[in-house]
């Protein structure tokens, strides 16, 4: 493993007024690694994504991508530095076509997307070429999820952040998503996967970070995390309540 991690999150805190949404959170992701981020609702997962992507303002700590400091940069500069994301509630450009949505993703990289690259993207995200001219909001929920992933991949990101990508997907679609995540990592990009589907997390992730009340309560390989008493307590309550 190289000395400089792909993503370094070092002691970050985010305050909203008097509320500590995140407190002293640290973790690293290596190049080509898939890191799962799990935690109960309200644990701070989305705040963490917003902090990494330049939307949430950090009160303390720093975020770096391949050694380059990103904290303090506006969101569009973070995207251009190499971090692409999808959203928990799909955020496509609803009135634009599927093709325009995917092409918009390429604003983060040098040069527009070429025809053969577009075809390759469609193939790996399982979007039929006949979908391209249609308005994005008219597509099915599963297709919209895949368009959003295609838009994020169009940027050729160094870090792909997926915020609950399997929500609302059927078993077949989830299996395809798992293969897609693995192929992205094989090509050298890193993935930060926020997900509630534990089967997907266990299958897709090299390591898992568990958040609760804005702090990291556990950190390790998926099988160890599942047996961690602090994690079991966070999800199920204390043994008496469970």
């Amino acid at each position: 493993m190289s000395a400089v991690p792909r993503l370094a999150v070092d002691g970050i805190s985010v305050h909203y007024g008097g509320v500590h949404a995140l407190r002293d959170v640290s973790f690293h992701i290596a190049a080509g690694e898939v890191l799962g981020l799990i935690g109960p609702n309200g644990a701070g997962k989305t705040t963490l994504i917003n902090a990494v992507t330049g939307i949430a303002h950090l009160s303390e700590g720093g975020v770096s991508l391949d050694g380059r400091r990103l904290d303090g940069l506006p969101a569009h500069r973070v995207a251009r530095a190499g971090i692409s994301r999808t959203y928990q509630n799909i955020r496509l450009f609803p009135a634009l076509t599927v093709e325009e949505n995917i092409r918009a993703g390429a604003f983060s990289r040098r040069g527009a997307i070429r025809e053969h690259e577009l075809q390759a993207l469609l193939e790996r995200t399982a979007i039929a070429p006949t979908e391209l001219p249609h308005v994005a909001s008219s597509r099915s929920y599963g297709t919209q999820r895949r368009i959003e992933i295609a838009r994020a991949l169009a940027a050729e990101p160094r870090l792909l952040v997926l915020d609950e990508p399997a929500a609302g997907m059927n078993a077949q679609e989830t299996a395809h998503l798992r293969g897609l995540i693995a192929s992205v990592a094989r090509e050298g990009a890193s993935v930060l996967l926020v997900e509630h589907d534990m089967a997907l997390v266990n299958a897709a992730c090299d390591r898992v970070v568990v958040l609760n009340f804005g702090t990291v309560i556990a950190h390790g390989i998926p099988t160890a995390i599942a047996r961690d008493p602090a994690v079991i307590e966070a999800y199920l309550g204390t043994s008496g309540a469970a």
């Binding site: 969101a75 569009h76 251009r80 009135a95 325009e100 918009a104 983060s108 838009r151």
Partner: protein
Amino acid sequence: MLAFFAQYSKLVDQAGINALLALSLSLSLRAGHLALAQAAFMGIAAYVGSIGAVDLHWTLLESTFAGALAAGIAAAILALPVARLRGIFLAIATIGFGEIARVVEINAPITDGAEGFSDIPNDAGTLAIYAALLATVAALFLLGRSKWALAIAATREDENAARGCGIDVGLVRTTTLVSGAVIAGVAGVLYAHANFFITPGDFGFPRMEQILVYCVIGGVTSSTGAVMGAAVMTALPETIRFLHDYREVTTGALLLAIIILAPGGLAQLWRRHA
């Protein structure tokens, strides 16, 4: 043909100027920003260009250049305080800017106040107006084929998702506002030179409202629509002259009909039948 032109040349010129104004507003609307300062930009440019033409003997070209530049600078300054405003708040702030510009035009020592500024060289003819319109349409056509068009559309659809795609939303806002102001500035100088007399009242809220009506009737996010809207709404009072006592009512009725029956404006109807 010549007889028609002799009778209606003023109207044809006015339609060209109005088309420029509609195009200028459509730029901000395409980015999803209801910035309503076009009449103010038009007025600033008209006064700068006219005062230069009368007192400093500028040619029409010099006058147009200086006026458009002044309008562009005014827009770049306006872009700063309104950077975080959206929707109705942006509309009110930019209308407020228009009122400030109008009051300054009334009270500044060099504008001849509410009485109006006169003796502007009457040298902006149909040729100059339509050359400016053609150049603007060509520039917008090129814009439509560039990466910028997608950045503007994405900004309109979802600003946060656009940022996530690496689009500098602030730059899109400022650029559309400033380029719109430059177009409105050109229209303002041509208006002044075509009418050889201007008053601050020419550039007040009623003018802004007219420009917005052109865009809504034509189709808010379409250049073709903006030109069609301006042409139709300039010609309409002439074609239904027998209804002239009810002019406001007919305009209102047409606007309502378009909003209800064809929310995409004339451009939408055009596409549907093309």
